[in-house]
C-alpha cells in the first residue's frame, strides 16, 4: 500500500514520533509530572515553557546560512567571525548563549567536519536541534576513525589531497563549518548565497548547493 506511509509524515517529510494519540508512556508521564511540579513550586510557568519551545523552534539552519553568506560577502565580518564567532554572530542579532563558538572555514585543500563523540553537543542556538544521525552511535564512533568513509555515506567524496580535519565538540565549545563558496556565484548578494547553504554543509557532512 504505497500511500500508507504518507499518513505518518510531517509537512517536512519526516515521520512524527508517537505523540498525543498514542498510549501514554512511562517517560511521558514523568515529563508531565516534572513539568507540573516545577510550575506548582513556582520554579517556572507554562508561559515560560511555551516561550522557550517557540524560541527553540525558531532556530534553524537558515540562521547559520546567513552567517556563512555574510562571511562570503563581507571581509570585515569574515575576520571578526574567525576572531570570535560567538561575538560576531551575537552582533548579527543571534542569541548564541554563553558558549564558545568557533568558525571553521574550508579551503581548496581543507575540509572540516564536526562531531561530538561524547554526547550530542551541537551549535543548537545557530542551527536548531541536531539531526538524529548526529546523535547516533555510528556517527559519534566512526567520524574520528574513518571520516572519509562517513563522508562518502553522505555522498561527499573529496580528492585524496584534500585534508580532512575532524573537530570534536564539547559542552562548552561548538563549531560551525564555513563551506567554500560555490563557483558561478560572482556578484550574488548575501540573501541569494544563503539559499545555497545547507545544514549539512555547516556540519561538514555536505557541500553547499551549486547554482
Amino acid at each position: 500500500m504505497p500511500h500508507d506511509h504518507h499518513d505518518h509524515l510531517s509537512p517536512s517529510g519526516h515521520p512524527y514520533r508517537p505523540d498525543d494519540d498514542q498510549p501514554l508512556s512511562y517517560w511521558q508521564t514523568l515529563e508531565i509530572a516534572v513539568r507540573e511540579l516545577l510550575v506548582e513550586k513556582g520554579i517556572t510557568t507554562p508561559a515560560d515553557i511555551a516561550v522557550q519551545i517557540d524560541a527553540m523552534d525558531a532556530r534553524n539552519p537558515a540562521m547559520g546560512a546567513k552567517v556563512v553568506a555574510r562571511y562570503w560577502t563581507d571581509a570585515d565580518f569574515a575576520a571578526a567571525l574567525i576572531e570570535d564567532a560567538a561575538r560576531a554572530t551575537r552582533e548579527m542579532g543571534f542569541d548564541i548563549g554563553p558558549l564558545k563558538l568557533i568558525a571553521l572555514p574550508n579551503t581548496a585543500t581543507l575540509h572540516n567536519i564536526v562531531v561530538c563523540t561524547l554526547c550530542s553537543c551541537y551549535p543548537r542556538n545557530l542551527l536548531g536541534l541536531p539531526p538524529d544521525w548526529y546523535k547516533s552511535r555510528a556517527y559519534r564512533s566512526r567520524t574520528v576513525r574513518e571520516p572519509r568513509k562517513v563522508l562518502a555515506e553522505f555522498g561527499v567524496t573529496l580528492p585524496d589531497n584534500t585534508e580532512v580535519r575532524v573537530h570534536d565538540s564539547t559542552a562548552d565549545m561548538r563549531y560551525i563549518v564555513i563551506p567554500n563558496r560555490p563557483g558561478g556565484t560572482d556578484g550574488w548578494d548575501a540573501a541569494a548565497l544563503a539559499d545555497l547553504v545547507t545544514r549539512d554543509s555547516m556540519i561538514g557532512t555536505g557541500l553547499p548547493r551549486t547554482p
Binding site: Y16, T29, E31, Q52, C119, A138, V144
Partner: protein
Amino acid sequence: MTNASFDGRRWHDMGGDIAGPVPTDQHDFSLWEKRVDALMVLCSGKGLFTVDGLRRVLEDMGEDSFETMTYYERWIASVNQNLIEAGAYTTAELATKMAQVQARGTTYGEASDAAR
C-alpha cells in the same frame, strides 16, 4: 579487584569505535520532547543544575539505556534526577504526581490536561 575488559574509557566515550552505517532516519520532535528540551534549558538557566549534571546522569544510566531509550526519554530521566538532587521536589511528591497524571487518561493528550 580488576576488570580485565575495562580499557580506560566509559561506554559513552565511543569515538574511534567500530560501528555500522550512519542511520539516515529523521523525525520531527513531538510536543513532549520539545517540553523536555525546554525544561532542561529553563532549569539550567535558573541554576538548578548544569549541563555537566545532565551528562553525569545520562552517562551513569549506562549503555543499555542508550540502546533502549530514545534521546528525550533519557533526558527527562536525567532532568528529574538532577531536580530531585537540587531539592526542587521530593520523590514522594513525584510519586503522588505521577499517580495523578496516570489517572487522567491513557494518552499523552488526556494525561497532559490537568483541568480534567
